[in-house]
Symmetry: C2
Subunit: 324 residues, 2 copies
Amino acid sequence: MATSEFELIRRYFTDLGKQRQWLSVGIGDDAAVITPPAGQQLLISIDTLNVGIHFPAQSSAKDIGHKALAVNLSDIAAMGGEPQWFTLALSLPSADEAWLSLFCQGLAELVEQYQLCLVGGDTTRGPLSITIQIAGAIPTEQALTRAGANVGDDIYVTGTLGDAAAGLLVCENQLHADETTTRYFLNRLNRPEPRVAIGLGLRGIATACIDVSDGLAADLGHIIDDSGVGAELRMETLPVSGQLRAQGLAEARLQELNLFGGDDYELCFTAAPPQRAAIAQLAQTTAVPITLIGTVIAEKGLFALEHAQRASLPAKGFDHFQNE
Amino acid sequence: MATSEFELIRRYFTDLGKQRQWLSVGIGDDAAVITPPAGQQLLISIDTLNVGIHFPAQSSAKDIGHKALAVNLSDIAAMGGEPQWFTLALSLPSADEAWLSLFCQGLAELVEQYQLCLVGGDTTRGPLSITIQIAGAIPTEQALTRAGANVGDDIYVTGTLGDAAAGLLVCENQLHADETTTRYFLNRLNRPEPRVAIGLGLRGIATACIDVSDGLAADLGHIIDDSGVGAELRMETLPVSGQLRAQGLAEARLQELNLFGGDDYELCFTAAPPQRAAIAQLAQTTAVPITLIGTVIAEKGLFALEHAQRASLPAKGFDHFQNE
């Protein structure tokens, strides 16, 4: 006997996330009823992961569950928000309980960590696809948009760049590393850690912020476009993990991964120079490196500074309709 | 040259829906920023349509756009809510501009009619799939849930039943009607009219409400289950369109379409008998028939009354993992 859609949803999803005071009616009615927090604005973002496009067909269900929620949490982090609730639309080729159970484990770890609540869902038959819409809260007028960068601001990025792209190369048999390093790259690709704590810490500090999902050049490109400014990156300061550095890649190849590799889900943000001490403090309390990588300039465009040379950079990034 | 994902989104979706005062940051940042209306609760619902499951591969893009939004509006209607904003996750096999343009026309008509606002989107490559999450507003504590039906309440349904199921039979070459009637059935299947005005009018009147998406028996089944009651349906009162009546189907076949046919997107609700005049008035002002079809009873289960006979009804409905 096939498990019915209703049973599947009930069994795996109804109890996901704590019951919240502001949740008047949860999953199982035509719509959830939510009392919005007073004095706060809502942040709303939506992201889809499709098999074969955003993750390989052989990915583990647990990793897929993690990543589907993590990329959405990353959007809330990039706005300086506190994640609150989400909805899940899941298309599955068949009602595979073992798969669903693992997928839910992947979700559940982040649900627990961030005290989220699943408020609605739709499970349909179709090629594997996961769409999550997430909501966060932010005190009125404090959201970190892409449009606030000022000439003279510092440019920062969290964590390290290019590791997820290296993970993709590993999957495609284009990069071969030892077992521990391979696991590190794959983890960076499949289990990104959303920088929620850093986003919260950047309220009132960052002037603009974005998460690096399509590659640093493309995403910093959105900040400078929306802010009407330009940016100079000091190439030697781009943060590279010891593991990626150890692969002995040609410098040009390494820079390509740093600038154009997608899926890192780090935060790129701008802040005025007087905020340097506060940002160093935030790196310390969150135990995540935050690196000063460049400066906002008046001349529009994205430029790389290296060995006293200055070159224009294309803002190319990962595009699902182009780079396949 | 392929059109980039960013361009596609910008061109077709950025201007969809009016700019609202409560929308501080719209599409194009990591998340939209929304100021929730004071004294109101949020209604949140999500629905996915997949090609080959929820609509035939040959469906027109305009119909698909209409239906994807209509089924979500129907959920807000069933809660008594006022639709406000939505997000759209669209998977497309290719960046087909002609298709997108028609799809957006289908969306745009409902966006205009209900003064909605698109606040976020994700466009990815994949088999055709549309997920919409919609938000509505409702004054605090006034949402129409499935759980409030009381013994002695009347049971109503809006519009007529079984026409969408007849449309599906037409698609499958199992029903042949004249051209006008065929168009009527296909319209009922592909372009459902969400009963938003009726839902708004039922605030303070209905004790429980649901939209009929999986068939009357299944959806009324949810009301009686969640309310801890039973229901008796007077079979001869089930509203059937003249077009469906004219098909000369056997009575048992007609009842099957009425009770178990999906996709009608009518509202089924319960109300105390003193509300009959108010409900008749609502039918008149909205120009949609509202038919009294049964009574809420204490004995659990769903029963059909016909020619002084009483029979137990299964609450079977359309289930994407079972009935294919």
